[in-house]
């Protein structure tokens, strides 16, 4: 059990995330079909596969490098609303780890807080609007608490993953107020927001990478 995420850990995290989203792709698309236009999973998987290809040839000697590659790939090639937002999300992780030999829990907490701020600034989504912010916000708070409490890396990531999952689950009860889901009203109730579910996968795979 690592107490920092080395570049190798980060690569494992990223590949684990790609695999997890690939596996959940159809389900995520289906969730977007219920609450939007049904392209989320497909777009996400396409952009992630492309990222994986670019990563194969990229220099990933710093802990931020894999995220920088994913950020650029998403910003360069992914359409829709979530593509550029995820691009900026990964970019904030890339920035925090830009010159670092490893990611500490504090750095993950910082990247999460920055990413939350970026997404809020760009997409104007607040907690409760039924977006990925509803998974990010509790994860960010959990990470901040863990850092304050001096928790270990795995413990901190676990609390983030747990918080994100609960946040994602909770979107099932929310009415959409941002993006396409705001047009479908009550008919989305009962299914969670695909963006939030994806954020939960992001932290789950972090835990897996750190514990593998």
């Amino acid at each position: 059990m690592a107490d920092q995420l080395s570049p190798a850990h980060v690569e494992r995290w990223v590949h684990g995330f790609v695999d997890a989203v690939e596996e959940a792709g159809d389900h995520l698309t289906d969730l977007d079909r219920r609450s939007g236009d049904g392209d989320f999973g497909t777009n996400m998987v396409t952009a992630l596969r492309r990222s994986r290809e670019v990563l194969a040839g990229a220099d990933t000697s710093t802990a931020g490098a894999p995220f920088q590659v994913m950020g650029e790939t998403f910003l360069a090639h992914s359409g829709g609303t979530s593509g550029p937002l995820f691009g900026m999300w990964f970019r904030d992780f890339g920035k925090v780890g830009a010159d670092a030999g490893a990611l500490t829990l504090a750095m993950v907490a910082e990247a999460t807080a920055n990413g939350w701020a970026t997404l809020a600034r760009l997409g104007s989504a607040k907690v409760g609007d039924r977006t990925m912010v509803d998974a990010i916000a509790p994860a960010s708070e959990a990470l901040a608490t863990a850092v304050d409490d001096g928790s270990g890396l795995v413990e901190g990531l676990r609390s983030a993953a747990e918080a994100a999952r609960r946040g994602a689950d909770g979107t099932s009860d929310l009415l959409g107020r941002r993006g396409r889901t705001s047009y479908v009203g009550e008919s989305a109730l009962g299914s969670p927001d695909p963006g939030a579910v994806t954020i939960a996968l992001f932290y789950r795979t972090a835990v897996e990478a750190a514990t593998a």
Binding site: E72, L75, A76, G79, G80, P84, L122, G123
Partner: protein, 334 residues
């Protein structure tokens, strides 16, 4: 079922093939960068704020047709009806930047706004200053809901690009241009009417069907339906329904001057557009409003939609002077 076939090879290649043909057709005006895709002037300016616009394709000649002296320094085309990516916008902006910053002229659509805002952050990281003029002239989407997506951006973008382009050519700085563009946008309103929807490349069905006795009133430029259908009728009846709300929304009073743009949405013939313009003129004459500058033609299209839009832009002497300034672009030259 109206059949709407197109001249194309693979539907997915429509935009890239058109861009290649466009660049080859206007070698003295523009140069195409293929990946990421953007269009810049053939002879880039050396010391001015760069004016850059972009958005989904399918609206040609917008935006690539307005690259050239006196208007845009660069245009960034997305796929059909889809925003360009932030990376495209960053690349185009950096290619156009002369060190004096970049003005982004953006039509108000979620994807465009998001990607241009992101591009602005990416550019800041590169040390390139930029700011956004949001064009939101479509009166049909004016719900008054401050929390909503706001009015869509349509043909007024041509006026913003012309006026800001001319001011940039004269050396205005980024702050001045941003304020100027916002002023033009704030004083612009548009209403659009469709007689038949267009069809996406590779599809033979138009994006919606209209009964024979109806027009789509307040239609957008992405094949989406309007909130309202109204009775089809002669232009003498339809045009006042379009112009009157524009006059009210802009609170135009007798003796005021406007730029009036009658714009074809893709498949509407010049004979019709000029007939519509005649009715716009009659109506405004009756209201004591002076068309200081007219522009009639197909400048902001929605693929092969049969329809037209009317845009009014409140004009003052500064705006008119900039409107009259020379421009040399594929789609607008004077």
């Amino acid at each position: 079922m109206p059949l709407r076939r197109q001249f194309l090879n693979k539907p997915d290649d429509v935009v890239s093939e058109a861009l290649e043909g466009f660049a080859a057709a206007w070698p003295h005006h523009v140069r195409l960068n293929e990946d990421p895709a953007y269009v810049v002037r053939a002879r880039p300016a050396t010391d001015k704020v760069a004016v850059v616009s972009g958005g989904g394709s399918g609206h040609e000649p917008l935006h690539v047709g307005f690259v050239g002296t006196g208007m845009l320094d660069a245009a960034v085309p997305g796929a059909v009806f889809a925003s360009p990516t932030a990376v495209q916008i960053r690349a185009a902006s950096m290619a156009a930047d002369t060190g004096r910053g970049v003005l982004h002229v953006v039509k108000n659509y979620t994807g465009d706004v998001l990607n241009f805002r992101i591009a602005g952050e990416l550019l800041a990281d590169e040390g390139v200053r930029s700011d956004i003029v949001l064009v939101d002239d479509d009166l049909a989407t004016d719900t008054g809901d401050a929390d909503g997506p706001g009015r869509r951006g349509t043909a007024a973008v041509v006026a913003v690009e012309k006026v800001c382009g001319a001011a940039a050519e004269r050396g205005a700085d980024l702050e001045t241009l941003t304020a100027l563009g916002r002023r033009v946008a704030a004083h612009s309103r548009t209403l659009s009417v469709a007689l038949a929807a267009g069809a996406h490349p590779g599809q033979s069905r138009p994006s919606f069907e209209l009964p024979e006795d109806a027009v789509e009133f307040g239609v957008g430029i992405h094949g989406e339906r309007a909130r309202e259908r109204r009775a089809f009728g002669p232009t003498g009846e339809l045009v006042p329904q379009m112009v009157s709300p524009l006059v009210k929304a802009l609170e135009l009073g007798r003796g005021e001057q406007v730029i009036a743009i009658v714009n074809g949405l893709g498949a509407t013939h010049d004979l019709e557009l000029y007939g519509v313009f005649g009715e716009v003129r009659r109506f405004l004459e009756g209201a004591g409003i002076d068309i200081a500058r007219p522009l009639v033609g197909s400048y902001v299209t929605s693929l092969d939609m049969a329809g037209c839009s009317v845009t009014l832009v409140r004009a003052d002497e500064e705006i008119l002077k900039l409107w009259d300034a020379p421009a040399a672009t594929p789609a607008l030259t004077w």
